[in-house]
Subunit: 325 residues, 2 copies
């Protein structure tokens, strides 16, 4: 399942409105030491083929009698874009399906597993469910809350500044941290900045990593009135944090600043995940990373964020927090 979850990451940010699923097919080996992987798949850009269909195609006849690990319940609905994966799995003669999560899509929602069982396949569920929920946070947030999963990225000094008082911000973090932030861009369908950042910097917001140049997401600017464009075509405007819910095929949104934009999303409680890149420097009297979020008391600030990951990126520290719901 860990391998399936890793494959699922390949699709993150490119499969909306479909979930980014990963799938691994294992043929039990007669010798000791475990099975042999005969097929791997992940949801392709735009949502099709599905992960299971791709993995089955790779496995061919080797799928017969196999165990299929998939991060989401195989779909039960036939669509013009392809057959139902649960039917494909039965036809292929697999012996066992291990699924991390049930699919909340009302066209499946248990019917996928039912079809598998009806076809004589042993079904197990709930394996690595938390990891799968995190992996498909965009799809699940869209399903449950009707909006994208929102990640806020901040790059600051130890004292929480994102720039000097004079505006200088290049660079606070080092090359490793900036590369990591570019990789995060590729995992989102859209990136958003505020009007101030847009007009001052006209940032490219592209993915400057070898091999991933084609993964640059849609670019959004948050502004209640039309911003002063600086030669940038391809930008879209959203008028409020709430209005990102109306963006079609955006299930993962990355908010990249500045301080007022971060504050607007936080004040609306629309941030699900926080990426913090911290350089080992002190600025003192610089520009704070986050503007006023309307916090009335410290008690309201506590128990909202949980540390998920922390690692060094060069001499900078990367931390990932997730919103406690």
């Amino acid at each position: 399942m860990h391998a399936a979850l890793a494959l699922a990451e390949r699709g993150r940010g490119r499969t909306a409105p479909n979930p980014n699923v990963g799938c691994v097919i294992v043929q039990p080996a007669p010798a000791k030491g475990g099975g042999k992987v005969v097929g791997r798949g992940w949801t392709q850009p735009g949502g099709r083929p599905h992960a299971e269909a791709m993995a089955l195609a790779a496995a061919g006849e080797a799928a017969r009698g196999s165990t299929v690990y998939t991060t989401l319940e195989p779909c039960a609905h036939v669509s013009p874009r392809g057959p139902a994966c649960s039917d494909l799995l039965v036809e292929a003669g697999v012996a066992r399906v291990v699924a991390a999560l049930g699919d909340p899509d009302p066209r499946t929602d248990g019917r996928g597993h039912d079809r598998l069982r009806a076809g004589g396949i042993v079904v197990e569920t709930g394996v690595e469910a938390d990891g799968a929920a995190r992996s498909m946070a965009g799809f699940l947030t869209r399903r449950s809350l009707g909006r994208p999963h929102v990640t806020l990225k901040l790059a600051t000094s130890l004292d929480g500044c994102l720039a000097l008082a004079n505006g200088e911000s290049k660079w606070i973090t080092g090359a490793e941290a900036r590369a990591h932030a570019h990789l995060e861009r590729a995992r989102h369908e859209a990136i958003l900045v505020g009007r101030g950042t847009y007009e001052a910097d006209a940032p490219k917001l592209d993915v400057r990593l070898a091999g991933l140049e084609g993964r640059s997401p849609r670019r959004l600017v948050l502004s209640s009135r039309h911003p002063r464009f600086r030669g940038g075509d391809g930008w879209e405007m959203v008028t409020s944090p709430q209005s990102v819910a109306t963006l079609e095929t955006v299930d993962h949104l990355l908010v990249e600043g500045g301080a007022q934009t971060a504050a607007a999303f936080l004040a609306a409680d629309l941030v699900d995940r926080l990426l913090l890149y911290r350089a080992p420097i002190l600025i003192g009297g610089g520009k704070p990373a986050i503007g006023d979020i309307g916090l009335a008391s410290l008690a309201d600030a506590h128990r909202r964020w949980r540390l998920r990951d922390r690692r060094m990126l060069g001499i900078d520290t990367f931390e990932e927090f997730e919103r406690v719901r």
Copy 2:
């Protein structure tokens, strides 16, 4: 030597102007499995007895033929407060002395080791020298720079705020972090706050830890003019960051805020060590931890701080940085 360094910590903040030294005496055991500790010592409050004298007194006759681990070269000078440790070691008939650092005190400065060798003792030096230099940072900074070793403590949110805009700051960090900060107080001869903090909070700045109540340091307020006292006796006033150099028997100074005081010490480049207690909360638009330090460009901010330690204290993160010199 690690055990000797741990013992040395017991004296930190109470031995100025003497160094806080640790000493362990090991009698080689005939059986396999290493030696037996026969004496332990650490510099006592006020500077006497010295660590070696204390350890020799504990060992008694068992010191004969032993190996003595000490974090600093044994002293070579007889004083009205006690005999020279190097003479005591020769008289006790120890076989070998392992010292981490040489003593820069001109009354010793190599003469201690010379006396030991003249007395037939094998001397090794430089073992765990970095750890010993860190352990005796107060003494060594006083010797080399003529001022105390200065530690700045900050307790902040993830976005670098030490209070809400309305001033609320109790509490940002949790009980574990606050207990750790109290333990740090006990390791300093004096604690300093700014006039604003003093007048607003009249903080106790004492050590509220069971068994360490008697370890509360001297309390200083940084102010260019006489602050409005709020019933606090026992407070002393210093008029500038530089003037802490004139404080006798203060080799370790803990600066506890607020933002302007932190900035004053940083702007003067008088901070050697930074303790950062960070709660997993966002405040947004709060009071920044550090005021203007006169930074002209980001390039000047880099390569000044090195991460030394990081650990969780409950759900808060503790980080220790040291100034790169």
